[in-house]
Symmetry: C2
Subunit: 365 residues, 2 copies
């Protein structure tokens, strides 16, 4: 561990993985799932997506302690069609349930050309891109999505009706780094609004509305009954398209397979009050994989993906950019930085982990 | 036919369908495909998407006359995996090739739970939502996408590198109208910019950039070397997510199956100059269908979709809205209006059709 600033501490990846694995184990999770869950969380920190990393470990632990997540869950296939399966997550850890469903979809896609797995009765699964990337070594394009607790206003509406409902996809390449799309369908993330409130800065225009449904740049308005706007903002700026995307993810992950949906998706909070209506079973996910070897030699397709990247990269750059971005660049740069300098943790997260380490008697750091 | 204003004329749907079918027939297209193609174009006008309707009939005819599209095309399956097929469109009419591939995907999805069909060597297929809706009667969720000629700048770049790459999805319902998502992944459509130029109005902020890559609200800038921005605008307002979506569609429709991609997608123009490099075969599409009866009684899933719609609709409305929008509302309202008052055609389109009718000796109106 070496400290580079007052606020960010750096740790070797292995230290954090071991610690997180042990916390999950002591929370009652079986060995394999505990390692799996730790891998998803630590990968988020390595990618620079701190809101989805070890900052959530304490919440996961509390959810187990309060029996809101089933530590001994055994997810199982409850419907099996040739290229479409339904998994019941048994109210288990989303990080483990997601990985289980991903493995099923990957094995089936290799046989069928493409295969998709719906999941109901699950919980928060962390970073969607993690799952989409699991098929890369097997020559598979991966798609992953999940619905999440409602924070986003529909077009024409005031309240929170849809989650930030992320959508991820990963594409295999030859010599270039993989292409990775991992995006919330809201204009801005909850984490960014929280940061702005803490730092006293204004938000970009058209990222949130206040409790009356009026666009606002004051982050406080979100926490006083406001809502996030969908990607694109309001209708005039294309916000109806972001709303369509959030709806697409919610319908595919929730209303189709029978998970909760819209305002009824359960929040990721120990002391959550149940919504006025209970609809469907838990959080829903959808995973899909497509074989790039289905039509021709996968090596040829991988080279075409490289060509695509190089063509975009060769475009003339806009003011303020060194090069045209390729989807997945930010995660790539953060991973390289984490590998060189250690995985960054905020001091507040470090202190939470220290407290957990004392409570559970686990060596940390 | 009855004229309601100086600019918009109204026609019975059947009149337009008969005329368009006959134009395709006289262009050399076989009967079944001619009727199919006319149906896609006329549906666009009925839905109020005039840029994709009969306004393009003249261009299609010219493309046949100039042998840029193969009127006698026979699309065929060239790779057949259990749940993934590849169709070669034989450089045929996208409107007919798309319908062929859609039928294949629907029949296979009923057997497999889900099935997907990639298409290469095709052309402009009209409105994506048309294809996504074809599985509704068979209890199928439908997905349709296509890449299109480059108009959109990548995040960090100046030039046109990706198409407006539309994405569509349709969901079956019980008593409520179907849910229909049909959206370009650009911030604004080319048609909207053309309209603004004609009418001398400014564009919403963050919808286009000029030839230097600077955001502009002057529609003329697009036609002087500028580009459309992706959904979300610039990076600070979420434009990298719209870029990711455009990339997703391009990679799935183009680089994966071996169609043209990115800046190499052939333009829909009779006198188009070939791009500096020829890459892949024609325009690429992807169609996918998912059986809502795969896991339970489809009637139950349809009722859940109704519940989803009613829940969104019951949300408190924002200033200026009568009700919260549901994806597919605009197309629904336009269809009802077309059914009541006749299908709207702009006078300029009407005049083009008149000229075609004289040239080909086909009765019109």
């Amino acid at each position: 561990m070496n400290s580079r600033s007052d606020e960010i501490l750096r740790f070797p990846s292995l230290t954090l993985r071991r610690f997180a694995t042990e916390v999950f184990r002591r929370s009652g999770v079986e060995d394999y799932d505990a390692e799996q869950a730790a891998d998803v969380l630590c990968t988020a920190d390595e990618w620079g997506i701190r809101s989805h990393g070890l900052a959530r470990l304490r919440s996961y632990h509390d959810m187990f302690v309060n029996n809101r997540i089933n530590a001994k869950a055994h997810p199982r296939i409850i419907k099996d069609r040739p290229s479409l399966m339904l998994v019941d997550g048994d109210n288990g850890l989303g990080l483990a349930v997601g990985a289980f469903a991903t493995r099923l979809a990957i094995e089936r896609a290799k046989l069928m050309g493409t295969a998709w797995v719906s999941v109901v009765n699950s919980n928060h699964f962390g970073i969607a891109g993690y799952y989409a990337m699991q098929g890369l070594a097997d020559d598979l394009i991966g798609v992953a999505m999940t619905n999440t607790p409602a924070l986003v206003a529909p077009t024409g509406g005031v309240g929170r009706r849809l989650g930030t409902n992320p959508l991820a996809a990963a594409f295999p390449t030859a010599y270039e780094p993989r292409i990775l799309i991992d995006m919330a369908t809201s204009a801005i993330s909850l984490g960014s609004v929280e940061n702005a409130r803490r730092e006293g800065t204004q938000l970009p225009t058209l990222s949130i509305v206040n409790s009356k449904g009026e666009p606002s740049t004051d982050p406080k308005d979100l926490f006083e009954g406001g809502a996030l706007l969908p990607l694109g903002g309001v209708r005039n700026s294309g916000g109806h398209k972001g709303y369509c995307l959030a709806a697409l993810v919610d319908l595919l992950c929730g209303a189709f397979p029978g998970a909760a949906w819209g305002p009824f998706v359960p929040p990721f909070l120990v002391d959550a009050v149940d919504s006025e209506r209970v609809v469907g079973q838990g959080v829903g996910h959808l995973f899909g994989f497509i074989s790039i070897g289905a039509f021709e030699d996968p090596a040829v397709v991988r080279l075409r993906m490289d060509d695509w990247i190089q063509t975009m990269r060769a475009s003339q750059t806009a003011e303020g950019y060194d090069q045209v971005m390729i989807p997945g660049d930010p995660e790539l740069h953060a991973s390289a930085d984490s590998a060189e300098h250690g995985v960054p943790l905020e001091l507040s997260v470090h202190n939470e982990l220290l407290a957990l380490s004392e409570k559970l008697g686990i060596v940390y750091g």
